[in-house]
């Protein structure tokens, strides 16, 4: 009743192969993007931009990248934090060493370096599969942790690998207010999001999915496993690298290698699993869940403690957060192992039939 696509007939292949073949979807996505660009900057406060919107956007971008690799191509990776780190530090080097380079180009070049790094550490995927691969990708993580801590050239000779950037500018537009930073992240996210959506529904995306579903069968019907796996690694780590560069440049401003530790890799994988593997929309849901949950717990727990008359110490709160975070994740995996995106599609199906049960 709410959501119905009957009556929308396609008369050409072009119309049938649009990104959003259903009019309601087109409108909804257009409205969401318009609202994100126009309404949010008007109503949001500085705190909301800094603590919620900007991390959410950047994490969505990173989750999108991880989803391409894990969700679409089926190669479990625990090295996403490393790809972010490479993106961030490479962009930093381009930014600092070549000041005449435009900011956007530095970010993109950071992504390109991350893609090269991703291809290098994606090579084992040609031989090693499944959980073995997941552990093997940790090599990338620990290697990058070490590299940015010990090789001083990458960090411009700063001690302990901590670096900072300031004075972000594109064509005399300076990005120093939270709103402008938000708009920058949003624009990059929209561009890369559309790009990713188009890639996964094109020929290359189908190859990735074939490899994910059964790699031997895919090879038999003529899909080159090496090409498909390595392109997935490259595209995914490019997106993750750009997200890492944004995370460093826009969100943190000053960072050290520990900002992209193995913890970050776990979180990104959580986003993908909780959001829904193999779903672009799922990446956004997952990022929202993982970014908002700690903030919500942080606000909510002291209130709850005050309500029952218990003073919870700061360390007590952080431990309680860990407990609740862990329990929620397990609970969530039990209730809906296919993620929030699956819940969403169930909801859509229900809306399509409402008010009838079948």
């Amino acid at each position: 009743m709410f959501y119905r696509e009957n009556g929308q007939f396609k008369t050409s292949y072009r119309a049938d192969q649009q990104i959003f073949p259903i009019a309601q979807d087109r409108w909804a996505v257009g409205l969401i993007i318009a609202a994100a660009f126009l309404v949010v900057p008007m109503v949001g406060t500085d705190y909301m931009f800094r603590a919620i919107f900007i991390p959410f956007l950047i994490m969505s971008l990173a989750a999108l990248g991880v989803n391409i690799l894990v969700g679409y191509c089926g190669q479990i990776s625990l090295g996403s934090g490393a790809f972010m780190a490479v993106g961030a530090y490479a962009a930093f080097n381009f930014f600092v060493r070549l000041p005449e380079l435009p900011l956007l180009l530095s970010l993109v070049l950071g992504g390109v370096c991350a893609a090269a790094f991703g291809i290098l550490f994606g090579l084992p995927s040609l031989r090693v599969k499944g959980l073995y691969l997941a552990v093997a990708t940790l090599a990338a993580q620990f290697f990058s942790d070490w590299m940015f801590l010990r090789i001083k050239w990458f960090t411009n000779d700063s001690p302990s690998g901590s670096v900072s950037v300031s004075d972000l500018k594109i064509l005399n537009l300076s990005f120093d207010t939270p709103i402008s930073k938000y708009l920058l992240c949003l624009s990059i996210l929209v561009v890369l999001g559309v790009l990713a959506k188009n890639l996964v529904r094109g020929a290359i995306g189908r190859e990735w999915m074939a490899i994910r579903d059964m790699d031997v069968a895919a090879a038999v019907i003529g899909i080159r496993p090496m090409y498909a796996k390595l392109t997935a690694f490259a595209v995914s780590s490019f997106v993750i690298g750009v997200a890492g560069a944004l995370w460093g440049f826009v969100y943190l401003g000053a960072w050290e290698p520990a900002a992209f530790s193995v913890e970050m890799s776990f979180r990104l994988l959580f986003m993908v699993i909780i959001g829904g593997m193999g779903s672009i929309m799922g990446s956004f849901f997952g990022a929202a869940f993982i970014v908002l949950l700690p903030i919500a717990l942080n606000q909510f727990l002291p209130l709850l403690g005050a309500l029952v008359g218990v003073e919870i110490s700061t360390s007590g709160i952080s431990h309680a957060e860990l407990i609740i975070f862990g329990a929620l994740i397990v609970w969530f995996l039990i209730v809906e192992p296919h993620g929030l995106a699956k819940l969403w599609s169930i909801g859509k199906q229900k809306m399509r039939l409402w008010p009838f049960p079948h």
Partner: protein, 309 residues
Amino acid sequence: MAFFLETLLGGLMAGMLYSLVALGFVLIYKASGVFNFAQGAMVLFAALAMARFSEWIPLWTGIDNPVAANFLAFCVATCIMFVVAWLIERLALRYLVNQEGTTLLMATLGISYFLDGLGQTIFGSDIYKIDIGMPKEPVMAFEEMFEGGILINKEDLYAALIAAVLVTLLSLFFQKTATGRALRAVADDHQAAQSIGIPLNRIWVIVWCVAGVVALVAGMIWGSKLGVQFSLTTVALRALPVVILGGLTSVPGAIIGGLIIGVGEKLSEVFLGPYVGGGIEIWFAYVLALLFLLVRPQGLFGEKIIDRV
């Protein structure tokens, strides 16, 4: 030569400790196909329980014999690990049967967050020490063979000994007892085991209990070496290359993988480290494991992976 041997021996003993943690991974993976990322958290949890109860028991009961207090604390910690194992099976894994490997892996990551938080809430988050009377002073050996002899850490020696005993006990348990046979049957084929009347759920509880005890022993030894603190959970990350190098399904693989990684780490750190700035232990272990995987994708002793369409 003496220095080389010394490094080699140090590596072998460190490797023994890694295999102890790796054993926990292998046991659970074999029996239930779950890659248990919570092993590190279990090590921390067990070590915290052990450390705190060995502190509390003399206070509560007035036993001032350290051996008796340690023994009691060990028993209490074992019981706690049994309860934890039972709860994990009862509340989480039971509902996740037949899910994909990734989902299970993520669930154990969730469990590990939970255990980290819970352990530190109950037992506190300072640095505690476990004193099980391991001698700290190093000894010299082979003095007649090399000039100056070889320095051996006695503590490491004892730890390696304990690990060896544990491994022997485990293999006896697996090979000789009825429960052990049932465990091996489940590891071979879930459905076949179920069809001849082996209760899967009970087997899983037993496996997690055994893994809990292994975690406790590992936590005890690592804890008395490094002190019981949050960073103990990273021990699991150090043990992961051991697991994949040896093969996820092989107990001897965990031991031999541990020895290879231990030796490789120490030798690389001593002989290669100075040229590239040091601190290469962690990633070198992973790269070493990767190199082995390139030749044998299922690990040294893992079951051959056969792809069928």
